[in-house]
């Protein structure tokens, strides 16, 4: 979910037009507007890098390419 506002240990996050509140105590790193957070039961547990899905796809493509040669 994308961070729309931060106030102390509380962030307002949104995804797909839905807004929710997420506590930041369990995160252990600073959060800025526009960051993506993995939120579980009202608590952010990880900051996500939007580029990381591309990394997964790249690893997967590499694996598939290697498999095709073998």
């Amino acid at each position: 979910m994308k961070v729309a506002a931060v106030e102390g240990n509380m962030a307002t996050v949104e995804a797909g037009g839905v807004r929710a509140r997420a506590r930041l105590d369990a995160l252990g790193e600073p959060v800025s507007l526009g960051d993506y957070l993995l939120v579980h039961a009202g608590f952010a547990i990880r900051r996500l890098d939007p580029g990381d899905a591309q990394e997964t796809l790249r690893l997967l493509d590499e694996l598939l390419a290697a498999g095709d040669e073998g």
Partner: protein, 363 residues
């Protein structure tokens, strides 16, 4: 983010993965276990069992937190509510059958039971109603427990306490390894539990028990990719921990969340529904915070009740010894509207997921 999600559902890559999986058809039956309701949803919703090579089965183990919550704890929550204490818990817990009644039924009879989305909501209710005792019935694995820890450590009001039924995934998986009839050849490790505990938490499982472990995400390609890595390990005779979900999981995990857990809780033995007592598999409120421990604050003794009703096969489903359709009550007497066992309740119970998606064992 949306675009990423679509990319991780790319059918062309899915087909390529399916072909690669087919090339890894094993010589003997291979049983892969996952322990996460969300994995089961992805697998059933996208029909992933049907692209696996012959001889490979993927089964859900004890991955549904409300399903494995012992009736001892659930009955205590019901009794607290009947005594007039406001009991707050997650929605999925409401309809889980206890040995006497569900929390939902207690509420229908006038007991103060509230559905919350977060432990913080329960604290909010307690602050708003200082004259009302409020108990947060805390269920869930390592993903959920940091939130409970955070509110316990954030100076909650005196009318708030926690009935703690949080459980830990790695000890439960170890238990499966040693159980008759549940041999596992690989673990598809749960993404978001691992966000907190880190992929390194499974090192013992791979190293000492020689079980291949791959941490997987929740999009269809994430799951197929993780299964491919698992089958490769099986084919190569390797057992190590691989991380197929690096965008959300690191080797060390979330240190801050781990610190919260260690500060608020101690590890305890815990009773899992249908499985029994598993050593060091639960979290209990630390002695320094005992004034917020509902188990000590109120006189609600732990009474052994019926965990699984006769005929219900949840005890086997929860340890991956049976699939939901093996149960004679599945889809007949037992449906999401008329759940007989805990696995038919909520979003993550294996029977509920299979019922919703018309899942059946791969032929």
């Amino acid at each position: 983010m949306k675009a990423d999600q679509f990319a991780l559902r790319d059918p062309l890559r899915g087909q390529a993965l399916a072909r690669a999986l087919q090339r890894l058809a094993p010589e003997r039956p291979v049983r892969i276990v996952h322990v996460c309701g969300t994995h089961e949803i992805t697998i059933s919703e996208h029909g992933l069992r049907h692209v696996l090579p012959e001889g490979v089965s993927v089964l859900e183990g004890p991955g549904c937190p409300v399903c494995v919550t012992s009736t001892v704890d659930l009955d205590r929550a019901v009794r607290l509510a009947e005594q007039g204490v406001a009991v707050c818990t997650f929605g999925d817990m409401m309809r889980v059958p206890g040995s006497r009644k569900t929390l939902d039924e207690a509420r229908a009879l006038g007991a103060p039971v509230h559905t919350v989305l977060s432990a913080a909501d329960a604290v909010g209710l307690a602050r708003k109603n200082p004259a009302q005792d409020v108990v947060f019935f805390a269920v869930g694995f390592e993903t959920t427990a940091p939130g409970t820890a955070a509110v316990l450590l954030d100076d909650p009001p005196g009318n708030f306490s926690v009935l703690c039924s949080h459980k830990l995934i790695p000890p439960a998986v170890q238990k499966l390894v040693n159980m008759p009839g549940t041999g596992l050849d690989g673990l598809l490790a749960p993404g978001h539990v691992s966000t907190v505990i880190g992929a390194g938490a499974y090192a013992g499982l791979a190293g000492e028990h020689c079980i291949p472990v791959v941490v997987g995400g929740f999009e269809p390609l994430d799951v197929l990719y993780a299964l491919l890595l698992l089958l490769r390990q099986v084919a190569d005779g390797r057992a190590q921990v691989e991380n197929a979900y690096p965008r959300a999981v690191s080797w060390e995990g979330n240190r801050q969340a781990q610190n919260l857990l260690a500060t608020a809780f101690r590890v305890s033995d815990a009773k899992w529904r249908g499985i029994g007592e598993i050593p060091c598999s639960g979290l209990a409120v630390r002695a320094e915070l005992s004034r917020f421990d509902a188990a000590l604050k109120y006189d609600v003794p732990a009474v052994e009740g019926q965990e699984v009703v006769p005929g219900c096969r949840c005890a086997d489903v929860l340890v991956a010894r049976a699939v939901p359709s093996d149960c004679p009550l599945f889809g007949g007497e037992c449906t999401p509207l008329t759940p007989v066992g805990p696995c038919m309740v909520g979003a993550e119970g294996a029977c509920a997921v299979w019922h919703r998606h018309g899942e059946r064992p791969a032929l």
